[in-house]
Symmetry: C2
Amino acid sequence: MGMSTDTGPGTSRGSASGTRRPDEPATGLRETKKRETRQLISDHATRLFLQQGFEATTLAEIADAARVAKKTVTNYFPRKEDMALDHQDEFVAGLARTVSGREPGESPFAALRRAFLSAVAAQDPVAGFAGPEFIRMIVESPTLSACLRGLHDQREEALAAALAEATGASAGDITPRAAAALLGGVHRVLFQRIQELTLAGRANPEIAAVLEGEAVRAFDLLAPALADYS
Amino acid sequence: MGMSTDTGPGTSRGSASGTRRPDEPATGLRETKKRETRQLISDHATRLFLQQGFEATTLAEIADAARVAKKTVTNYFPRKEDMALDHQDEFVAGLARTVSGREPGESPFAALRRAFLSAVAAQDPVAGFAGPEFIRMIVESPTLSACLRGLHDQREEALAAALAEATGASAGDITPRAAAALLGGVHRVLFQRIQELTLAGRANPEIAAVLEGEAVRAFDLLAPALADYS
DNA sequence: GCTAAAATTACCTCCGACGTAATTTTCCCC
DNA sequence: GGGGAAAATTACGTCGGAGGTAATTTTAGC
């Protein structure tokens, strides 16, 4: 998950001749090497984390493995956690984007249910699918577990904003936030369930089969409350 | 919130003659001084946290203020956060206890709604009522915010266990966990709402009045899903 | 090429977390 | 009420992550 926000040390270009729009692909040599360095560090970090655990791996080890200075590591990744959890932005924005981009006439509830079921069918990492070692790395590290909780929280917050916009709720209305907590909560419980089954040694197709049924039950539980919410 | 679990360094008694049951009030001089030292540290820590912020306060400052060694501080409070968030156990166990101890014939949903409304009426700190400085201390500290998220998570987990026991759900059933996420989510959103209004400068009675209405709306939203769940 | 900006680097401090051994305080039993 | 055991407190040390600074190297644009 995540991290599309941070592109590394110093994203701005020279101020004298601003010929480049900030959202261009950035095809210069400097940007290329920046991406390479970032990927190099991330790869070595991930490998070490999976091999010997997140907490047991030090920044110095990562820097040595990637053959860069320790400071370069912390320049690209201000926090150690950012090297382990990738695609954070995608994860956080996912539910909100599902609501914002839903078919006309479709309720947020229906859109989110459909999105989760197809994510399960596709064994999408954003839904919780990952290798057992990766999940073990997270659950065995208090730091990473706390970070993941924070991501679930941000995701719910973004969903609340999308729901408020979709339903035209007034500023102080608590309903979008409550609805986001309910919908986000179901997604989170199912996410955790996928991780739990992965840790239990089940293979992804089997997990997808189990989750399909459990997801239907969980969303059915919530349906009487939110099916008509829009 | 919390911290009833950790009574300080070394709770066990002499092994030669175990004449005392471990759950006795512990009225000896040693236990008294232990409680006093613990309270002394906690008081100075809380004062410093509120004065200059959580992150800006160091363990050395706290130790100096309490006139004890730095190691004594970390003996009583393994993590810095534990000095700031009190009554953790009470907070975590609250919802589960409400379900376990509900009136016969009352649904978990009704019991939890009733409990929250009376907590609001009583301006209970466990529901989110606290001084603005205390709440500011939390929201301005990433460490404390993450810790509070973790407490909400533990609370939901305990609630899921209580719901599974109350409804006699089978071991692998996802329903209690989903229901706990929904009920815990509503409680959490309302908790955050109380904090938000407190930060906005509203007085507690005014907050209680606002929350009463919002809580009814939030629980009403959830009612069609869970009113009959038991 | 030359110049300015950005990236990388080698040090640095600070603080929380943790461990260990020595010292003092308290307790229990004789 | 004194002696020995246990526990609490203490001083001291290490380690790792976070963060800052100035110097050096690399790249981009003229």
